[in-house]
Amino acid sequence: MAGIYKGKYASLGLFLALTALPIALGIGYALLRSMGLAGLGAEGFTLRHWEAVLSGGEFWRSLGLSFRVAGCSIGLAGVLALAAVLKAPERWQRGGLSWLMYLPLTLPAMVVAFVVFQMLSGAGLVSRLAYKLGLTSGIQDFPNWVNDSWGIGIIAAHVFMATPFFIILFAQLYQSERLGEYAQLAATLGATARQSARRVIVPVLLRQSFPTLVLYFIFVMGSYEIPLLLGSQSPQMVSVLTIRKLQRFDLADIPQAYAIGVLYMVFVAAAAVFLLRNNAEKTSSTC
């Protein structure tokens, strides 16, 4: 081990081989395939698959849904987490709850999606409770909360996963930024609890957690398992749409899948590199 440790260039070479090289190969092949220059049934240089993706509307609807779902999930989870931390900041630092809030993080996305399906589907637990309470007369009366075009089930699953994570994040920031002391100072200067929260605590929490919120937003946009189980047939979130087109028997759909993959990568990379460039140092130092 110590031998490898000496090899600076071997280390950096390995890093490039396992990070940059696969990405470059993947994007390169996807570009060639989407332009008809590689793969089964390669027809020679053409941009028709790109035109089909860019003008067809399916990709844009899919990107729009992914963006909407990520925005709603992060927004709802953020508000819930902020409310929980502002209401009782000390409760999340020690005691039983501080351990319990880590538990949802041990559930894989697929399991969360499965549980949400069993809760919110027409034959799910909530629907059964509604029937028992006389609110519905059967499965058909229950609203479509899963596999719906609004992505309600997907958002519910992501909110369940993100809220505890944000509570942990905000509670740690509350402590490390000594926001309790700032709140006391604001109170001494005559601020009400609401003013102190709105003008002091929340702005600091949001500013400090901004890189993490951006990364989580991108994570939700690219999520696969949850929309696969809880999403509708149309529109589909970008990851699901890409894989569905890739696995179709129609060979004309496969180049489109690669075009969508490249477009998505370019879209999120441009956004993320721009936003994270100035924050990578800060984020890595939290280790």
Partner: protein
């Protein structure tokens, strides 16, 4: 009053999925509008103990893959991170490490599937291991970049001043100092692999049946009781690791 309500609401919401999975894992026949399964049985759990059981094999396969990935990602990440942390282009290197996550592992796997097929790495465990390493190794690097700070560099210099060679410094100074961080990274890389579905199913082309693949298969077959059991098996090891992880975090802090 409100704080107590908040506490119980949160605790209930957190524990509910585990309770639901536990109930289903012992149940059979859940017809609308019953709130609970009509039959309670150990049959689902006995499936695990059956020799040649698919589920037991998937559990062992997932454990082996995740342990292998966690070991490789932690070891390689620890070493690579040192060179990146002290590199003048540290920030640029780190940006590269974030890319597999930003691009979404499943989309990255889709673009790489051709190469895995060509290299004979599709549909087998070595291929899945290599594919998961592409996700877990950058995490290890990101994780340890913060560890290699000025304090560690000063400790290395002190060890050299006192006559220690590089090997001794590594084995007797740096490794013991990194013990807690190594353990935490191991657990988290284990979880990355343990939770992985999209990339595993694409590169494994459905042949490498890890637990997540099995859960999806059961859901597809509308076998919610086996799906619940497999889900519980997926959730329990991370919950155990979390407990150990938190003990280590508390100790190190």
């Amino acid at each position: 009053m409100l704080k107590t309500m908040l506490k119980y609401t949160f605790a209930g919401a957190v524990l509910f999925p585990f309770a639901l999975l536990l109930v289903f894992s012992f149940g059979q026949n859940w017809r609308f509008p019953a709130l609970f399964p009509a039959l309670w049985t150990m049959d689902n759990w006995q499936l695990l103990l059956t020799s040649q059981s698919d589920l037991a094999q998937s559990l062992l396969r997932s454990l082996s893959i995740s342990a292998g990935i966690a070991t490789a990602a932690t070891g390689l990440g620890f070493i690579t991170a040192k060179h990146i942390a002290y590199h003048p282009w540290r920030q640029q290197w780190l940006t590269l490490a974030y890319l597999p996550y930003i691009f979404a592992p499943v989309i990255l796997a889709a673009t790489l599937q051709f190469f895995f097929l060509r290299l004979g790495l599709a549909g087998n465990v070595p291929g899945v291991l290599f594919a998961q390493l592409l996700i877990a190794y950058p995490f290890g690097v990101i994780f340890f970049t913060g560890f290699w700070n000025d304090r560690m560099r000063a400790m290395e210099q002190l060890s050299a001043t006192l006559g220690g060679n590089k090997r001794q410094t590594f084995l007797r100074v740096l490794l013991p100092a990194a013990q807690g961080a190594l353990l935490v990274c191991f657990f988290q890389a284990f979880l990355i692999s343990w939770f992985e579905y999209g990339l595993t199913t694409l590169i494994g082309i459905g042949k490498v049946q890890t637990l997540t693949v099995k859960v999806f298969q059961y859901i597809g077959e509308a076998n919610i009781f086996h799906a619940a059991l497999a889900s519980l098996l997926l959730a329990l090891p991370p919950a155990g690791l979390l407990w150990v992880n938190k003990q280590v975090l508390f100790k190190t802090s």
